[in-house]
């Protein structure tokens, strides 16, 4: 198991780069920790990296469910192993005018208009499906057929002690973000030129993270094993008759 970088462990590191190594020197530790926490949120504005799965406790006759505020983008919902497609409320109403009350097994969902991070299932579940396990079993098929499971990209929680981003993105980006904000803050150490310099450095770090995250998905690269796939992207080219394209005098 890897050792995650904790937020507090970066405080001496950024103090070294601010050339203010003592505790509360120039900037308070509380302020610098706040900046360390904010850095990750700024990075997440540009890129989705953290993905997770969790079970949703289903109650008989209840159509709407409040999701955690950390959910950024849902990639998949399964109900007892079957995929639940996400539609707009308009599409749901076209499917069924009674979509808010009809009860059976959910096949569709909507993440719209019912409140912030409120998910509506249609049809409304006609059974209870409690959360069976909150551990890593959600990544296996142990409870797949007996739970409603949501896969989603998540945003970082500032109150979490460790970073959500992988370790290899953290230190350099945080270093420049903290120096940008600290030098831009009102006070004796304010230096807007230096702040601007580190802002540009931070932005280039974020661009690098976005590019590195894109490289993770190499699935479009053609591989030898592609022969096993049906190749849905292959476009067939029919042989056209020799007179195809010849102008016809319609007069």
């Amino acid at each position: 198991m890897r050792t995650q970088i904790t937020r507090s462990s970066l405080l001496p590191y950024v103090r070294t780069y601010l050339n203010a190594p003592a505790a509360n020197q120039i900037w308070t530790d509380v302020y610098l920790l706040q900046l360390i926490n904010q850095a990750e949120v700024w990075i997440f504005d540009a890129v989705k990296t953290t993905w997770s799965r969790f079970a949703l406790g289903i109650q008989l006759g209840v159509g709407t469910y409040q999701l955690d505020q950390d959910v950024q983008a849902i990639t998949r919902i399964t109900y007892r192993g079957f995929k639940v497609d996400i539609l707009s409320q308009r599409e749901l109403s076209l499917l069924s005018p009674v979509y808010r009350t009809q009860q059976t097994r959910p096949r569709w969902a909507s993440w719209q208009f019912d409140g912030t991070n409120t998910l509506r299932l249609y049809p409304v579940p006609a059974e209870n499906l409690p959360i069976l396990d909150t551990g890593t079993d959600v990544f296996t098929d142990k409870n797949l057929l007996n739970e409603c499971i949501i896969s989603a990209y998540m945003v970082p929680d500032e109150s979490d002690g460790v970073f959500s981003l992988p370790d290899y993105f953290i230190t350099r980006a945080v270093k420049h973000f903290v120096r940008w904000k600290a030098y831009a803050a009102e006070g004796n150490a304010q230096d807007l030129d230096v702040a601007q310099y580190h802002k540009s450095k931070f932005e280039s770090q974020v661009a690098m993270i976005v590019e590195a995250n894109t490289k993770v998905y190499n699935n479009k690269a053609r591989q030898l094993a592609d022969v096993a796939i049906q190749r849905p992207w292959k476009k067939f080219r029919p042989i056209l008759p020799p007179n195809f394209g010849t102008p016809v005098d319609m007069s």
């Binding site: 990296t49 079957f82 098929d141 142990k142 797949l144 370790d167 096993a228 796939i229």
Partner: protein, 224 residues
């Protein structure tokens, strides 16, 4: 000559005229070298490794970032996957492709034929083993972070680019004292070396083709 961590640190301290650590202690210089190493690895994809991961019964998603690499290296991205049970390379497809196979593909059990890269951390399989997996799968991957822990450790950077970490760390440390003009000279050197390394990495396995193309210019062939 391959430089280890201790030798690179010595060169950085010489550049800074700080051999006895008046301004920067060893830990600070090491951290600057590590930062540079992290950036070079990510930007040039120069660090690679292979791991053999046992199939776990009933597991759909494998946590490669936390799971597969026992040492001080961190997983970043997959290059290839080889299933030892079938002796086949496994293609990686998008989840939308898997949805076309079966909309309940996560529940499908059998010999894995496809991989689904979720993010830097998770790899899914379709189908997945419920039992009977006697062998593992091999992952050929790029490393995202290679922790330099002892002075004798040699960074995974080709020899001709070994100066790159020295330049990064020197520039990075000069900026602490706001010596931006002095730092810029080292940043320029670092940037040039990094670009050369970026160009070198994908081309290093193509020497034969380059040689063949050069053959066309051989005088005996006349004009081609």
């Amino acid at each position: 000559m391959s430089l280890n961590l201790g030798q690179i640190r010595g060169r950085v301290q010489t550049n800074l005229n700080d051999a006895i650590g008046t301004f920067f202690d060893n830990a600070t210089v090491n951290q600057a070298i590590q930062d540079g190493y992290d950036e070079v690895i990510i930007d040039t994809q120069c660090a690679e490794a292979t791991a053999s991961v046992p199939f776990t019964p009933n597991t759909i998603y494998y946590d490669l970032y936390n799971g597969i690499i026992p040492s001080n290296q961190l997983f970043w991205r997959i290059c290839r996957i080889f299933n030892q049970n079938t002796n086949r390379w496994m293609p990686c497809v998008d989840s939308r492709v898997l949805d076309k196979f079966r909309f309940d593909w996560e529940a499908s059990v059998g010999t894995p034929w496809f991989g689904y890269i979720v993010n830097y951390q998770y790899l899914g399989f379709f189908p997945h083993f419920s039992s009977g997996a006697t062998k593992s799968f091999d992952v050929l991957y790029k490393i995202g972070k290679d922790n330099l822990t002892v002075d004798q450790q040699i960074p995974q950077i080709p020899n001709q680019f070994s100066r790159i970490l020295e330049s990064y760390a020197t520039a990075d440390l000069l900026e602490i004292y706001r010596e931006f003009t002095k730092a810029q000279e080292y940043w320029d050197d670092y940037g040039k070396l990094k670009q050369k390394l970026k160009d070198y990495m994908p081309s290093r396995s193509l020497p034969d083709k380059l040689w063949q193309l050069n053959d066309l210019d051989w005088p005996n062939f006349g004009s081609v």
